[in-house]
Amino acid sequence: MAENVLEIRDLSLSYGDDDIVRNVNLSVKAGEILCIAGESGCGKSTLLKAIHGMDAINVTAGDIVYEGKSILGMPAPGRRRMMGTGIGLIPQNPQGSFNPLRSFGRQMKETMESHGMKFDRTEMVRLMDSMGLPDGDKLISSRPFELSGGMNQRVAIVFSLLLQPKVLLCDEITSALDVTSGKMVIHEVESYAAHSNAAILMVTHHLGIADRIADTVAVMNHGEVVEYGPVSKVLYHPEDSYTRMLLEKIPKIRREAVS
């Protein structure tokens, strides 16, 4: 378990003319949950987007290495095969996951077929049930625009988990959900990491979540990692002043409720 599944080495990113991320070094091993925390605009989402490589982000320096191979140099077909089953993504915006006009079932089926996997409807229903969506069978035949944002988000998480990625990138996945659903979702992600030994990179501005499930925490401020280490150290004995300020901002009640 000593090898890193995913490594981010000296990564600097820019979007247009602006430098968003500077000199970031992070890594995760199989089964490890890394939370990247920070306030809005610190670059944590941009970091995730660079890893899955979809948006037009310029890599100005550094590398991203997955299972020992550089992602940035990978040719397109290999990269496509890696998406979803190697590195999975749960985007922040539920609208960003699905074609609103086609049923969930059809979309999952074609995703599975693109990876040569078989679409297991019963497994999908089971996962949906554990996310608080009991009418799984009917929902699978519905189209995304018929459901609320929160429900869409939960189905998106189901989609990602069904593909059984080795690395799961989560981008503020609870922000579209109420507290109860959020807890269900976090619990599901945690148990997925446990039984499949996947690595999780969870971006959140919610330090309470990090406290609950993370093994390691990285705190970002204005595009740089200011603190990085095991959760016990970062959240309870922070060295950096910014980290301390973030922790102080959390109302005491919330910290107790989430842990």
């Binding site: 979809m54 496509r80 074609n99 609103p100 006009l101 049923s103 995703t111 035949s141 189209r143 018929e146």
Partner: protein, 319 residues
């Protein structure tokens, strides 16, 4: 959830549209009838003149009574309307043949033109617009954007004149008088298809690009779905409703454009019939033309809307 609610709302939408069609049809018929009354001069006199009969006051008076022109406007309108509902649109001033029959014959020929040009345009524009959208700003894209812009900017009568000059007179490939032959179909169809293809490429391309820029495309790709599946089963599928609407709307432009084309190439469709009738002051035919064309346009509009709502019910369900 989807099946039942979707179906129920859909039925309501269809019924709502069909009901709203009725007043539109009524006003259309009223307008068509009014058109005849708006024509300067006396209809009885015009009819007699169109037949070449010498007009005196007594003859005109007799004709007016025979045509029922002494009755009030609304009476005449309803008489005409009920006749129209039975399929009787009156008779032509020129030769006394039933207007409906003449229009139907012409319509058949025009449909040959219209359908052929629509199919040709779609066959070219759909693949081209897909390639342009996917390969934005490439040489192919820029070249076709320029071509479609040019095609869309040239009036179709101009294209016809030029084509006729090049192919019929200079190169003698096609007959000058189209007649009703198959080879006579070529140039008219091409003249109609060029501006339409240009317009389709521009609009389809824009719609496909707008779909490609949607968030969900990124999400689907992030799951590792194959690019062909992303493009055809998702992007193109979403753009289809819009594309069908555009194609449906251009039926109206086709109908207008066919008048010019048929006149130039002497294709005996409904357009040529109308122009000849206008020249001969055969107003019942013109009046029937407006009615028939209007009805066709409304029906086609309804059908395209229904197809659109089936593919993308979002706007209807939320309203």
């Amino acid at each position: 959830m989807s099946g039942f609610i979707g179906c129920c709302l859909m039925k309501k939408y269809v019924i709502k549209r069909l009901i709203s069609l009725i007043p539109l049809l009524l006003i259309l018929s009223f307008f068509s009838f009014l058109l005849l009354d708006m024509a300067p001069g006396d209809p009885a006199e015009k009819k007699l003149a169109a037949q070449g009969i010498a007009v005196t006051k007594e003859v005109i008076e007799a004709e007016r009574i025979r045509m029922g022109l002494d009755r009030p406007f609304l009476t005449r309108y309803f008489a005409w309307l009920f006749g129209a509902l039975r399929g009787d649109l009156g008779v032509s001033y020129k030769d006394g043949f039933p207007v409906m029959g003449k229009l139907m014959d012409g319509l058949g020929k025009t449909c040959q033109l219209a359908v052929s040009s629509l199919v040709l345009s779609l066959l070219i524009s759909i693949p081209v617009s897909v390639i342009c959208a996917v390969r934005q700003d490439s040489f192919f894209d820029n070249a076709f954007r320029i071509l479609s812009f040019a095609g869309n900017s040239v009036p179709n009568f101009l294209i016809s004149v030029l084509l006729m000059f090049m192919f019929c007179i200079r190169m003698k490939i096609f007959p000058v008088i189209a007649g009703d032959s198959f080879s006579g179909l070529f140039l008219p169809v091409i003249s109609l298809a060029i501006p339409m293809t240009g317009r389709f490429i521009r609009q389809f391309r824009a719609e496909i690009i707008s779909q490609l820029e949607q968030d969900f495309v990124t999400g689907i790709r992030a799951r590792g779905v194959r690019e062909t599946v992303v493009l055809f089963r998702n992007v193109l599928y979403n753009a289809l409703g819009h594309m069908i609407t555009i194609a449906g709307l251009s039926i109206g432009t086709l109908m207008g454009g066919s008048v010019v084309i048929e006149t130039i190439f002497r294709w005996s469709g409904i357009g040529k019939l109308v122009m000849d009738s206008i020249t001969a002051r055969d107003y019942p035919v013109v009046q029937g033309f407006v009615l028939i064309m209007g009805v066709m346009y409304l029906v086609i509009g309804l059908v395209t809307d229904l197809i659109f709502v089936t593919l993308d019910p979002r706007t209807e369900i939320t309203s």
